[in-house]
Structure formats: C-alpha cells, structure tokens
Symmetry: C2
Subunit: 178 residues, 2 copies
DNA sequence: GGACCATACCTCGTCATCGAGGTATAGCGG
DNA sequence: CCGCTATACCTCGATGACGAGGTATGGTCC
C-alpha cells in the first residue's frame, strides 16, 4: 500500500522524502500515520528495485535533499499495479482508497479503469455481514447489541453511497447503451 | 486487533482454534482474511501471557482439539483494552469496528462505553480530507478527478451515517437532559 | 476402495512495519 | 546566544503478519 502510494505521488512530480511524508500524512495520516522508520526503508526498497532514482541537491536545506524521480520501470510498475490490483486492494477500504487516489493515472485506458471499478462492484455485491446465523448473514434489524447494530448500519450506508457512485462513474466511463 | 478479537470472542464462550478461525473470518474475513500462520502464533502469545488457557479434549475430532478458555487476567485485559483503546483503534475503521463488535462486554459501565464513543465522535468531528490545498482541506466539489471525488463522497456518506448513529446511541447511554 | 474435502493443528523463513533513537542545519523568539 | 521548532535524513531491534508447507483423521461421493 505504501509502495503504491509512493509511486502514485511520484508519478505526478518528483518529490523529496519529506514532501512525500507530508503527502502521505494527508492521504492516510489521519487514519494511520506512517513513521519515518517505515517510509525511508520503503524508499530504499523501491530504489534498489530500480523503480526510482534519487538525485542529491546539496545546499538548499539543512540536510542534503534527495529528490526522488520515478524511472520508466517505476511508471510501468505503478500502472501495472493499478490495472491489476490484488484482492486485498479491492476488499480493504484503506487499500482500495489508495487505488482510487491514483486510478486517474490510467488516463488513456477507461476500459481498464472500469474493470477495476467492476471488481469493487462485484465485491460489494456479495451478501456479507459481520455476524452469521449459520450460513445466513444477520441484518441490522435482528441485532440487539446497539454497537453491533451500529456497525451494520454504518457499513450499509457506506455500501449504498459507494454503489451509487460506482454506477454513475461506470456509466461515464462506458458511454452508450450496454 | 487480532488479540482484541480473540479475547472478545472467548469472552462469550470457550472455543477451539478452528471455531475461532471461522468467527474471525465472518467478522473481518471478507475484508482481510487471517491465515493460520497468524492465528495460531497469536493464540500462543496470549497463552504465554496468561490471558487464556487451553484444555485438550481428545477424541471428538481428527486432531486433538484444544478448547481455549479466557482466564481472569484475560477478561481483565479485554475490558481494559475496551475501556482505553489506543488512537489507532479509534481512527482506523477496521480496528474501530473490532472495538464496536465487543464494546457490549462493558455492559455494566455505560459511562465507559459512552466515553469510547465520544472519542470516535471527536475524531470524526475534526475537519479532514485526503487532499489539501496548503492547510485547507479540499472538498468533493472542488476535485476534478472522478475517482478522488468518489473517495470524498463515500467518506462523507460514511461519516454522516456514523455521526447520526453515534448521537442516537450516546443519547440512549446518557439518559436525561444534558 | 480411492479421491477428495473439511476439520484441526502446527512450524518456519521472510518481509513490512513500528517506535525509539540518532545526526544535522536553519531560523525564530526571548 | 540559548532553546525550540521545523526541515531532512537515517539506523536498529522487536514485533507481527504472511504464505507455503507439513501432519493427521473422519466423512462423503462415485
């Protein structure tokens, strides 16, 4: 997820580590802050995988800044990841939102964007609950526990909003009668 | 999060590992499945911390089943964790839902339950976005990118539903005029 | 009687993440 | 000129999650 976010941000413009840190803090920080000890090793991994290069600019600031640039392999890796996200990217909301944040980078490929949205649509379409009576998912109305009822109500509201948005956006991506 | 969920399920009734696995699969599995390699070591950790004990029942099934019972220390740890969840439990939706799933275990302490809900209320009350124009959070209407707009719309719908539920539930927990 | 699946448990190596700590410089207020 | 904060980067040890693999038995289907 971190890897995806780093590649996604760098696709827009080269950044140095500190700027990246602040972009990441805005994107996911209020929910799950990332620490230096996570970010810098991740940058190193991407660098040694040849997905980005760093250019040292001395002078400007306190420590020598390393401006990070995506390589062609890095761009390819980003686009590939966006085209074929793995199942966790689809089901886990945090990861899914990271995909959404950068899905625009598949600009020239509306069909690929639509395919990703369809996968999320299929996932949301499956009947699912947090609690089961045998095989049958238990609905909010059947639950006495007010906290568990809350979970189900909130999840339902989210799913509804997302389905509406997914349908609208898919219509826009796939124009014409279907 | 796994620790919390295990303790929470065992508070209801003793279970063996396999049953636990299926309960966990229902609770968080559609979003983020937990593997054996995560579950069994987690059980061992809890056991060596004295939070649960296992009683071997031979015979019933294929492998000797270890029925897991919560100890008093385990119950205390669960209730304590529910009373004072850490910040990530409040902000990360996956973790927050796990707290909600078991908050009922603080049955006799409506004030403690209300205090936890208030923390979530405060978190949701902070103005937050995924994207910032300098310091100012950017609203859904200002975003051109349809995917990023979707993120903001979905997040807003979720927040709204959750705020409504939080207020209702807090009113029920704290009766009388305020 | 053989294939296969569900039940039930476990280990191991690998990897990502985290928090705590460290090292600098620049700039500002007092 | 001292302390503080922001900028900017890095390391290290511990933890925990993961997937792949292994070991059984019991039941069902054909």
């Amino acid at each position: 997820m971190l890897k995806l976010a780093i590649l996604g941000f760098l696709h827009d413009r080269p950044l140095h580590g500190y700027q990246l840190r602040r972009h990441l803090a805005a994107l996911t920080g209020h929910v799950r802050p990332i620490s230096d000890g996570t970010l810098y090793p991740a940058i190193k991994r991407l660098e040694s995988d040849g997905l980005l290069v760093r250019e040292t600019e001395p002078g400007t600031a306190a420590a020598p800044r390393h401006t990070l640039h995506l390589t062609e392999a890095g761009q390819a890796a980003l686009l590939d990841r966006l085209r074929t996200p793995d199942d966790l990217d689809i089901s886990d909301e945090n990861r899914w939102f990271t995909v959404l944040a950068f899905l625009r980078h598949l600009d020239g490929e509306p069909a690929a964007q639509a395919a990703v949205l369809r996968r999320r649509l299929a996932f949301l379409g499956e009947p699912a609950s947090f609690f089961y009576d045998g095989e049958r998912p238990v609905g909010a109305e059947e639950v006495d526990d007010p906290f568990r009822r809350g979970m189900l109500l909130i999840a339902r509201a989210t799913t509804r909003a997302e389905l509406a948005w997914l349908r609208d956006t898919l219509d826009a991506l796939e124009p014409g009668p279907r």
